[in-house]
Amino acid sequence: MNATAITAIALLGAAVATVVVGAYGLRVSRTTSDFLVASRTVRPGRNAAAISGEYLSAASFLGIAGLIAKYGADALWYPVGFTAGYLGLLLFVAAPLRRSGAYTVPDFAEFRLGSRRVRLVSMAVVVTICTLYLVPQYQGAGVALEALLGLPRWIGPVAVATIVIVNVVGGGMRSITLVQAFQYWLKLTAISVPAVALLFTVGSKVDLGQPLPPTVMQQTTVAVDTAVRVNVVDPAGVTVTGTVDGRPVDSEPLPGAGEHTLGSGSTVTLSPGAHTPVIVGAPATGAQWTGSGNGLGGGHPLYQVLSILVATFLGAMGLPHVLVRFYTNPDGQAARRTALVVIALLSVFYLFPTLLGAFARIFVPQLLVTGRADAAVLLLPSAAIAGTGGLLLAALVAAGAIAAFLATSSGLLISIAGAVSTDLLRGRVRDFRVAAVAGGLVPVPLALAASSFELSRGVGLVFAVAASTLCPLLVLGIWWRGLTPAGAIAGLAVGAVSSAIAGLLAVTQWVGDNFLAGWPAVIVGFPAAVTVPLAFATMAIVSRFTGATAPANVSRAFARMHLPERLGMGVERVPRG
């Protein structure tokens, strides 16, 4: 049996297991409450596994290792921030949000502010965040199927969209809880087994701090799809067919060390032992790569890191698909314990992408030529370990990757369908299904059209949108009595528009890297440090000026959110109709 067949079987196995576990859960789903919040009976351990399973997306499973292979030490901030986000959620949101008794984020907004309009605006924000978050998941599927099976880019998004829509249309929250808990353990296995296997088989050969770029071990060819500027430290053994610096070449060596532009359609051939050319902006030598403070491409690395911290620390508490899972706990204490267990589960998981990223730099350095390192984890096992062992590990990783796309995408789609069907449509099961089909299809063209952005950076931008919108709404709503409906709407609008414009400019790369000392480019690429304070300030200031419109029953809402359940203040909200 060849490599492609083994991988295809693993992919199919993971997809089928997802549907089967979901179908098992479906048999126990009966009531509306089952569908929306699993009847609020999920214990902390199970719920934490489900949250982690849903949260560890393509960005975590593939993207982080790719970023670490490419940028080195500063990429470590992404997994740190993705975990710190749950500490933020635990500190500021978990228990009061659960005690509010709401069943979606828009429902919380209406509960707290007593305004139908705020509910609709929050619903629009929820749908926007989930749709933007679906785009990198679909793109990750495209990257994976291309790298693993050689399929065209569009097949991945279409396949994942189809499976997820079928799953969500059929099931509800209760069945999804089981699926997602299962997928956490699948993903942990799929990432830890290869990492540990590599550590014990080839770990001793690794020396990452060399003064030169990594070398390839066997003859390697790299196709350059779009023109790329690379940094060459040692040109020996590197030949190019295509165009170099605008000059057509045919199997010619590079003209020398320094920066060169490789035209689109070029092919780079590296002979064994040749040092890899590295895309400009990423650290080229081993010494730069192991050092901190180089940032993630572009200028102002310290600002980049701080902005990533703001986005991830505050962004997790603005992710609708994560928040909705906290409503499934029986009470506020269980919600806190769930968040705590999530921190532990994520901490264990994130040890491994770091290891794999470091190995990828050694064993698949050719990815550094084009800078498209998202496929690193998928290509690594068979490149590092020869024979059947490598093939089986590669198949396992592939299964984990597909689990990552499916788990996150179904969670996002449930949030879209839940919000749209209860707030825009009439809240019947049929409306839920119509919304799910539409919500699953819309991101497909977006995923195909958007330029190939690194997965973790794409997800980082979505975190920035979440941190600039739902995070201030929840934090101020939970802790500040002065929040008014007008303030909430103004803050949501300012946060959403500013962070979305930044994301759009970053994806289209309209802002020159050197314009105004590089500040506009870096703020657009890492907007949270600017847009989050802006959104908080807008909400607070507009609320101050519209204080007369504050809802009348704030005291009751605060008592309900903050008092322990034993006092009997809690009321579980259910959808109308």
Binding site: V80, T290, T354, L567
Partner: protein, 105 residues
């Protein structure tokens, strides 16, 4: 006789003051621990950027910047989360004790 539980449930002036006290205590705790975590991470980022040579040293064969950000921060974040859960549940228990004591008085 003061029915403290009813005061809280009915949001009388006394009850509302009790709730405000609890919220203030919980918020203070969350803000202090949040500032501690965020501040510590920001300081690590700052140190990395001011002293890039720091990462050239090795501790037991590991680079300190990789050891800190790749491994050590995780147990610290968990420990702070645990501490928060313990303290916040403690303050809820204290709150309930005050109310129960008020009811018995």
């Amino acid at each position: 006789m003061v029915r403290t539980r009813v005061e809280v449930q009915e949001q009388t002036e006394v009850g509302d003051a009790l709730v405000r006290g609890l919220v203030r205590a919980q918020l203070g705790l969350a803000l202090r621990l949040g500032a501690l975590v965020f501040g510590a991470l920001a300081v690590i980022a700052l140190l990395n950027s001011i002293f890039p040579t720091f990462s050239e040293a090795t501790v037991l064969g590991f680079r300190p910047n990789w050891l800190v950000l790749g491994v050590l921060v995780y147990p610290v974040m968990y420990a702070i989360g645990r501490l928060f859960v313990r303290l916040t549940e403690q303050s809820e228990r204290d709150f309930l004790r005050v109310i129960d004591a008020g009811d018995e008085a």
